[in-house]
Structure formats: structure tokens, C-alpha cells
């Protein structure tokens, strides 16, 4: 049985490579059928904001990667409710919003954690 992995993505989408790299780790894990979860936290929840325009800053759109999560069998996608509320965002249908205690339990449940 493979070890389960939780990836915590906490960087805004256009601030550097971290957001894309976190997604790449998750998708790669999904391609190998690893038990993997993804949690958006802090500025990472900005990745979930609708109708962003990556072309305006000459970057590639992350939303295609986000939509691919389901195709790669990654259903455990979560967002920090506190971080969403702080930024006036709501969780999209593809991500489940969690409170602080629930996030603590989530981290507990996985064998390994990568925070980017």
C-alpha cells in the first residue's frame, strides 16, 4: 500500500512557480494512483477564484490543471474556510471548505505532507 500524501498549496497563482508545482505534484501522484489529497490554504485559495486571465501576465492558465484533477482520480480537494472568508471568496464545487480543526485532522490522516 502506497503512503498517502497531502499537498498544501498556499501561494497565489501568479506569484511564482509554487502554485503550478504543487498542482504538478498532485497530478503526477494521481497518474500513479497514489492516495493523494490537495488543500488550498492562505493565498493558495486565490487559485480557486473564477475567471482569471493568465494571458494578461503572459502565463499559462492554471484552471485547465485544476479541472484535470478529477480526470486523474483526485477527489480529495479541500480549501481552508478561514483563508476563503478572509479573502471574500467561496469554495467552488470542486473543493470542499474545511474549518481549522478539520484541517488539523486532515493533516493527521495522511502519511506525508508537502507544503508549498
Amino acid at each position: 500500500m502506497s503512503k498517502s500524501l497531502l499537498v498544501i498549496s498556499r501561494q497565489a497563482p501568479w506569484s511564482g512557480p509554487s502554485a503550478r508545482e504543487a498542482l504538478d505534484i498532485v497530478l503526477a501522484g494521481g497518474a500513479f494512483d497514489l492516495p493523494i489529497g490537495l488543500l488550498f490554504m492562505d493565498d493558495g485559495v486565490f487559485q480557486l477564484a473564477p475567471q482569471q486571465n493568465a494571458k494578461a501576465v503572459q502565463q499559462k492558465d492554471l484552471s485547465a490543471n485544476l479541472q484535470a484533477l478529477g480526470l486523474f482520480g483526485i477527489d480529495d480537494v479541500f480549501a481552508c474556510g478561514h483563508s476563503l472568508a478572509e479573502r471574500g471568496l467561496t469554495a467552488p464545487a470542486s473543493a470542499q471548505a474545511l474549518g481549522n480543526d478539520a484541517i488539523g485532522k486532515l493533516i493527521d490522516r495522511y502519511d506525508q505532507v508537502i507544503t508549498l
Binding site: 498544501i8 492562505d42 484541517i103 488539523g104 485532522k105 493533516i107 493527521d108 502519511d111 505532507v113 507544503t115
Partner: protein, 92 residues
């Protein structure tokens, strides 16, 4: 399962420590290293009631006093902690 949270950024310029404190469990511990050692000046760390370690050389380099609610470790101690806890979460 217990987690060792490694924080290497100052809590005064960065939200990592605050976020870590929001979600860390009672069986978890926080290891401060690099500018994360300035977290010893952060009252929230003391009141949260979670175990706190600081990397000794980063504390000494910054001339930070070791409060009674924290313990200092050297690099072998760091390695031992990473073994003692079920997993390590580095807040990169």
C-alpha cells in the same frame, strides 16, 4: 498521528507561523529555524500550548533568549525529532 511543523520564516513578515498555529494539533510540535527563530518573540506561540523547539544555532546567531516554554535542539536533535514524530511538515 503527530506532525513536526518546521517553520523557517519570521512570523512578523509572513503568515506561515500563524497558519501553522491555526491548524496544528495538540500532539504536534513546531520547530523554529532560520528567521523562524524570531517566533520566540511571538506571544501567540506561547499561549497556543503546543510544544516548541528552536534550532540552537539560529537562536544563538540572533541572540534570542530561550523562553521556558521552548526547548533548543542542535542538528542531531533536529534529526531525532523528525524521527520521533510521524511526519514532518515543512512550511516552505
Amino acid at each position: 498521528m503527530s506532525t513536526l511543523h518546521v517553520v523557517s520564516h519570521s512570523p512578523f513578515t509572513d503568515s506561515r507561523l500563524a497558519s501553522c498555529l491555526r491548524v496544528c494539533g495538540n500532539a504536534d510540535a513546531i520547530l523554529l529555524c532560520g528567521d523562524g527563530a524570531y517566533g520566540l518573540h511571538n506571544a501567540a506561540l506561547q499561549t497556543r500550548g503546543v510544544k516548541v523547539f528552536v534550532l540552537a544555532e539560529d537562536m544563538l546567531a540572533r541572540n534570542l533568549p530561550l523562553p521556558d516554554w521552548a526547548d533548543s535542539v542542535d542538528y542531531p536533535g533536529f534529526v531525532q525529532l523528525s524521527i520521533d514524530y510521524d511526519k514532518v511538515n515543512s512550511w516552505l
